[in-house]
Symmetry: C2
Subunit: 395 residues, 2 copies
């Protein structure tokens, strides 16, 4: 079988061989439970605490501010619920944006069952949330603000540091500011001091680490009510036996991604820019979605007019090319992307969305091949569609 | 360094080599996100669904009744909160036992912040919860009952099928019955029809599977409010990208444990009985805790009078023998076991508790060595302790 050309690195990434190598001893050899006092347990404890220090170094925080979770979704749930419930006597208002991942949106929605209210901020046509929009939404009852570092569908990078600066100036020490950095982990600066956030979520499998492991930064002093109870693990903030190999893998992957960030970003950006230029040169009636510059270096997301994104994806799959129409977490849904609609993309155009996200292991030859295949697919699909044919005749 | 004699299989187990082998392809090769529609994603989807079918076959349920979680603690939290919140309009009373794992006890305790009330059932001196005690605690407001299948500290097996039968007869279809089967997974029958439960929690790393993966059975039709939101995974009951290798490993481990259950139990029982007999023959003033017969085949838990359990453990560790004083999740705490106190063991005697839990890879030679070392340790510690010396003189 022909090798897959994988252009869906925003959905997940393969575990890097060095990461797997770092994890392997902790499955069957150094398998102790870190909560036990004997040697085998203490080896596992040391592995977890070394991983915590590695992550803390990269985030620019203290090790005790790092909590290991089961993934980005748990990190988002734990952060927002953790802060909202801890502060429920001070207020019940949460501010977030209309382009967040569902892990944030549905968490806020669930909190409405417990008396919380959510303001969903509008974004401009590039997907940007402005500090002004955040400021305007704050009420005396606002306790939590959650704005993503980078959008998972269109790659737009949000001005997190500017929002944090506004909060520090206008509402010092009053509101917990969380960022879902799941999509930016590995490619963007996630130093929590520079970002100015109180909480930050990451997911290891987005940066060549294992699935089933997430990271949650919780700044010291941040009100936090743990959601998973039943043991003293993670400094009483996340009960349950630690996923030792997973935690070791998450830290190894984050270190590897950070060490190679500039080189990997340059590779992705070069391939991505070449791909965008090729698409725009060869396929008419296509619209790049998201911000033209403030976007993840590996993201090329488009709306192809007069065709269904899903149809393009199926044909790409026949050609062994992996891409997606938006968030992997909403695949199977027939509704167009909530992000694109929030950015003002009309319903019919949003249906033609396809996201290509590059990795440092992709090649120029792959870009060329995908360009050729994609051009043919879009042409063929448009020829088959009444709208596409009408469009062509009138042109 | 001398090889560790590992007698703490209740805390965690090494991943079985065959289990690791089954997991390996899903880290870096078949690494797709199961929520994507292309081949690589669908391979991962198939792996997850095959794992779900394997688990369902063993539990005797439908695949769609199986939810994969991040561990036993999450399963317990998700089960109890999931049912309690879903039924909050019908009642606010939860019944559980005083010997449950903290994952159950602290979850119930947390629910008290949301207006729920908990009845903690007393147990007899062997740790048994009787169906009569459960029946007596039920009120018209009772919505959830959670009783463990087997105790993690003393190994007592609870009469789950009898409790379920009582509920079916006296309160048909009214109360959700959950069992924390984390400690019995692998060694006990966990067929949900025979047990008669609505929900059942398992943790893969207790039966030679990986850490960071749990299983939650939720019987079709059971009211269930998901705790982790943000995606349609696990049939909308547990959001977040699936831990594909972990899920594959959990199913492989459960299958292996089930296939070899009788043989493994026989090995453990033989070693364990030999060990108990040796301890009782060679060490005076020792009390086997838990039920004499209705106990996990691998559990030997004792209170050694006139000595601290922690001191024994430290000396065992010097001799490269791994055991623990109770639940790994409460290590570091100076309080004696809540289980032993609930069973009526006096405070000073409970301080002398040590739990040895065998695995099928243990040997008779190891049992002999541990017996020799343990006898010397207890003798030496008692000789050093004023209470121990006084006891010896008066004897």
């Amino acid at each position: 079988m022909k090798r897959t050309i994988y252009l869906d690195h925003a959905a997940t990434t393969p575990v890097h061989p060095k990461v797997l190598e770092a994890m392997l001893p902790y499955f069957s050899e150094q398998f102790g439970n870190p909560s036990t006092i004997y040697g085998l347990g203490q080896e596992a404890r040391k592995a977890v605490e070394d991983a915590r220090s590695t992550v803390a170094d990269i985030l620019g925080c203290k090790p005790k501010e790092v909590i290991f979770t089961s993934g980005g979704t748990e990190s988002d749930n734990a952060a927002i619920k953790g802060a909202a419930f801890a502060l429920k006597d001070k207020g019940n208002h949460i501010v977030t944006s209309s382009v967040e991942h569902h892990a944030v949106l549905e968490t806020c929605h669930q909190l409405e069952d417990y008396g919380f209210e959510t303001t969903l901020l509008r974004v401009d046509c590039t997907g940007i949330v402005t500090p002004g929009a955040v400021a305007a939404a704050i009420t005396p009852r606002t306790t939590v603000i959650s704005i993503m570092l980078a959008n998972n569908e269109v790659g737009t990078i949000e001005p997190i540091a500017e929002i944090a600066a506004m909060l520090r100036t206008s509402h010092p020490g009053r509101i917990v500011f969380h960022t879902d950095a799941v999509q930016g982990g590995g490619s963007l600066d996630i130093n929590v001091e520079r970002l100015g956030v109180d909480m930050l979520s990451l997911s290891a499998h987005k940066f060549y680490g294992p699935k089933g492991v997430g990271i949650l930064y919780v700044k010291q002093g941040t009100p936090f009510s743990p959601q998973q109870k039943g043991g003293a693990q993670e400094m009483n903030r996340r009960a349950g036996t630690e996923n030792v190999p997973g935690i070791v893998g998450a830290a190894a992957a984050l270190r590897l991604a950070t060490e190679n960030r500039e080189a990997n970003n340059a590779t992705c950006r070069r391939l991505r820019d070449c791909f965008i230029a090729g698409v725009e040169a060869r396929i008419p009636d296509v619209q790049l979605t998201g911000h033209p510059e403030m976007r993840l270096p590996n993201n090329a997301s488009f709306c192809f007019m007069y065709v269904e994104g899903e149809a393009i994806l199926l044909h790409l799959d026949f050609a062994n090319i992996a891409a997606t129409s938006g968030s992997a977490c909403t695949s199977g849904s027939l509704d167009p992307s909530h992000c694109l609609l929030a950015m003002g993309v009309p319903h019919d155009i949003a249906h033609g969305s396809v996201r290509f996200t590059f990795g440092h292991e992709n090649t120029e030859a792959e870009v060329d091949e995908v360009l050729n295949v994609l051009t043919q697919i879009v042409e063929r699909l448009r020829a088959m569609s009444p709208v596409g044919r009408a469009r062509k005749k009138s042109a």
